[in-house]
């Protein structure tokens, strides 16, 4: 038995933490790109990452680096900033305090306190990469505690659903940004360093190299991040996990109006299971990627309709 409001809180804890991790990794990769070879190409590669975080205009001209990094990490007015996401995750954790284990709560709270400590008092100069890594490690610790100290029942499935729907949508959006730039870039090609940046933004460079060798090609990168069956940050992998979480939720819920969310997730997952990268790229890759985002939106709505914000009239006992 799970309160609808608690299900909502659990789902959002995981979504916000996934988003915080995504932002932290993008900032980390962007900073790293600027090291060693600070020229126009690396700069543009980094700017593209910021653009996907919702910083408008970074691709149009030179912008001061430090404030951009500071905003992506700590600006609470910016909803995708790492600090915003960690704060929101922790606030949701407070709301569902009795549903999660004390170990999980203490880790979530410690993460929040650490971020706020740096934000308000810490000397941040030159520390952004280590801050990003600390936060990512803190989120992974939370996920480990989630798996190790909380029953894998209905509540846990909402955490899974939140984490993987966020991952599917944000990875698809990130690929889209590169595909879009690829189409308009002069000469029709991004540099190899851009594609490496994309892989690293998904923590996928090593896994990619093991699979395809270090020969980094755009269609292979797209294939790997979209369609890999076993890489945990690919869209296909994320939708598989999302589908199984939603199936478990449907079984636990036992409401006859359930089932829509898992059907939609199953359909998305199947389309990726049987997808072919050459077909996708030759047809309209941007429409395809946008379609993934739209389907994630529909799955989210269906989840809410079925379990969280359902109309009372449909549920009143006879």
């Amino acid at each position: 038995m799970l309160l609808s409001r608690a299900a909502d809180g659990l789902y959002w804890i995981a979504r916000y933490l996934e988003r915080a991790e995504h932002t932290a990794r993008l900032v980390d990769v962007g900073l790293d790109l600027g090291l060693g070879r600070p020229d126009a190409t690396t700069r543009r590669a980094a700017d593209r990452l910021y653009a996907t975080l919702g910083f408008a205009g970074v691709l149009d001209g030179p912008i001061e680096r430090a404030p951009l990094v500071g905003a992506a990490l700590f600006d609470l007015a910016h909803r995708s900033s790492m600090a915003s996401c960690v704060t929101a995750a922790r606030e949701n954790g407070r709301q569902v305090r009795e549903e999660i284990s004390s170990d999980m709560w203490e880790q979530l709270n410690a993460l929040f306190l650490a971020v706020r400590q740096i934000q308000t008092h810490g000397d941040r100069r030159g520390r952004a990469p280590s801050i990003c890594r600390t936060v990512i490690a803190g989120i992974h610790l939370f996920q480990g505690l989630t798996d190790a100290t909380m029953g894998h029942g209905e509540g846990w499935q909402y955490l899974q659903a939140g984490r993987f729907i966020e991952r599917a949508a944000s990875t698809a959006a990130l690929i889209d940004a590169f595909v879009a730039d690829q189409a308009i870039a002069e000469g029709g090609r991004l540099e190899q360093i851009d594609w490496i940046a994309l892989l690293r933004s998904c923590a996928a460079l090593e896994a990619y190299c093991r699979h395809y060798t270090a020969d980094v090609r755009p269609e292979r990168v797209t294939e790997f991040l979209l369609l890999s069956a076993d890489f945990p940050r690919s869209v296909r992998f994320a939708t598989a996990r999302l589908e199984s979480a939603l199936l478990a939720i449907a079984r636990a819920g036992g409401r006859d109006t359930g089932g829509r969310a898992d059907r939609l997730a199953g359909r998305l997952h199947s389309s990726l299971d049987y997808g072919q990268v050459d077909e996708i790229l030759n047809d309209d890759p941007r429409a395809y990627l946008a379609g993934i985002g739209a389907q994630c939106g529909q799955i989210h709505s269906a989840l809410y309709q079925s379990y969280i914000a359902y109309p009372i009239e449909s549920a009143i006992p006879a």
């Binding site: 038995m1 799970l2 309160l3 609808s4 409001r5 608690a6 299900a7 606030e91 407070r94 709301q95 305090r97 009795e98 004390s102 709560w105 203490e106 709270n109 410690a110 306190l113 308000t120 209905e154 939720i249 636990a252 819920g253 036992g254 409401r255 379990y307 969280i308 009372i312 549920a315 009143i316 006992p317």
Partner: protein, 498 residues
């Protein structure tokens, strides 16, 4: 064991000969009861192991323990929000490192006294909302009851399952010069603080494990189970597998941590008003698998906010229709609606008579002498002695609406004089009590500070009191106000085995 030669009353405590006793260099004794040392400066027998450990400790060690304790509270999120601060600063409630120790014999008296008191209070509430014998026989003045703003007319004639109106009470005790505990006030609506009793013990075990090896301390950890069992007894008889919930006003409430804590300890859902709805006079909560019937609500929401259809219409914390479901007997609420009449501070003065009336027994725990401002003789006396008395507003709690005569200015006394004259029913006066002092770590050493004691009394199949309670500390030197909202802190409270 002695801290060297006896200290005369009012004198500074003499330095012990054994180093590094300078932790105690600012410890002074006077006419007030000291929980650790008797008036001659000898450690009380049950405090000897603690004093020995402290004499062996160093200032940096204690500071280290204090830092660890504070950090433990912070990471556990045992905090309250400072309102009006942009950054939403969260602070911990100050925690004093040293335990307050109560002997088995002292506890036996407290337990018997509180059991007697809560039994009588429940009989009184049942009577007040049904036959009114206590009024008819002139034990309690009728107008005092009807003029209380916590008296709920809606509860007249309402059947309360098993006659248990107050399932959870938090009664404040203080210890006077002669070492006796007296009742300062009853909290019978939504008493809070029990999570600190439990959290303080956990933190104490974490930072000071060595101390426990020298004492046999009765555990408090089963409070959650005891509370759950007590609440279960309230379930409507036709609901053999009752669903219980804790009702909280939400994360914005300063006691939210405690609400979530108790829900977790009991393994029941923590709900807000918006999670509940009524249909056909039954209460349901909205879950992922549809609506689920709720049988017992442990509410941490005041009467006023429970049901916007019955009480305050502007309440967004409550559940429309809850009162009717309750009156229909389809849901139980703990504590019952309308218990605030019994912790009205003017009613308090009649509590000894109430105990005698219902139980034909003498009160085991005495009351504090109380002057009712609605009585002309009492009022005249109090207005002449405002500089010696403590004046309290009858319906307030949390240390608000209080005048402490000896610590007040002439202007403050004048303000209270006017309030008393214009609304005598709303005030009582009591002598300024010499609250006992407990040893506290100040950061620079160990000094005595005024303390009180709030045990938590549960009424299920019978009255049960988890051996312990919340010892609140007036951390500012000389202050008599222990409320957390007024700069107080708390300590772990040990009840020893026989």
């Amino acid at each position: 064991m002695s801290l060297s030669q006896p200290a005369a009353p009012g004198r500074r405590m003499a330095l012990p000969s054994s180093p590094p006793g300078d932790l105690f260099s600012r410890y002074s004794l006077d006419h007030v009861y000291d929980e650790m040392f008797d008036s001659s400066g000898e450690a009380r027998p049950h405090c000897v192991p603690l004093v020995e450990d402290l004499l062996a400790a160093s200032l940096p060690q204690l500071r280290q323990h204090q830092t660890e304790a504070d950090r433990a509270f912070l990471t556990q999120g045992i905090t309250f929000t400072v309102y009006g601060d942009e950054a939403g600063t969260e602070r911990i409630f100050p925690y004093d490192l040293l335990p307050r120790i109560i002997t088995a014999a002292e506890w036996a008296t407290i337990e018997a006294g509180l059991t007697q008191r809560l039994t009588a209070i429940n009989l009184f509430l049942r009577d007040i909302y049904h036959e009114e014998r206590v009024l008819a026989e002139g034990i309690v003045p009728r107008e005092l009851v009807y003029s209380c703003r916590h008296y709920r007319r809606e509860m007249r004639g309402v059947h309360v399952h098993r006659g248990i109106y107050v399932s959870v009470a938090g009664t404040d005790l203080v210890r006077l010069q002669d070492g006796r505990f007296v009742v300062l006030e009853d909290n019978l609506r939504v008493p809070s603080g029990v999570s600190y009793m439990l959290a303080n013990r956990e933190v104490m075990k974490r930072v000071f494990p060595g101390l426990f090896s020298r004492y046999s301390v009765r555990p408090v950890a089963d409070y959650g189970q005891t509370l759950l069992a007590a609440l279960r007894t309230l379930a409507p008889p036709n609901r053999p597998e009752p669903t219980l919930v804790v009702l909280t006003p939400g994360v914005g409430n300063s006691a939210y941590f405690e609400h979530a804590f108790l829900a977790r300890e009991m393994g029941v859902p923590l709900v807000e008003g918006r999670d509940l709805l009524t249909h056909d006079n039954a209460v349901y909560m909205r879950t992922t698998s549809g609506l689920r019937r709720v049988d017992v609500i442990y509410r941490r929401v005041d009467d006023d906010f429970l049901d916007p259809l019955a009480f305050r219409t502007d309440s967004r914390l409550g559940v429309p229709g809850l009162l009717n479901a309750y009156r229909a007997g389809n849901v139980s609420i703990a504590n019952a609606i309308g218990t605030g009449i019994a912790d009205d501070k003017a009613l308090y003065a009649y509590m000894p008579d109430i105990i005698r009336f219902y139980l034909s027994e003498e009160p085991i725990l005495p009351n504090v002498e109380t002057y009712l401002m609605s009585k002309p003789d009492d009022r005249r006396y109090a207005l002449e002695h405002l500089d010696e008395l403590v004046v309290k507003a009858v319906g307030e709690s949390g240390g608000y609406g209080m005048l402490i005569g000896p610590h007040s200015t002439a202007a403050e006394r004048d303000a209270f004089r006017q309030k008393i004259v214009s609304e005598p029913r709303n005030f009582i006066a009591q002598p300024t009590l010499p609250l006992s002092r407990g040893a506290c770590f100040t950061g620079d050493g160990i000094e005595p500070r005024h303390i009180d004691l709030r045990p938590y009394v549960l009424y299920g199949d019978r009255v049960r009191i988890v051996p312990g309670g919340l010892t609140r500390v007036a951390l500012r030197k000389g202050s008599l106000v222990v409320n957390s909202s007024q700069g107080g802190g708390s300590k772990d409270t040990w009840v020893l085995q026989d």
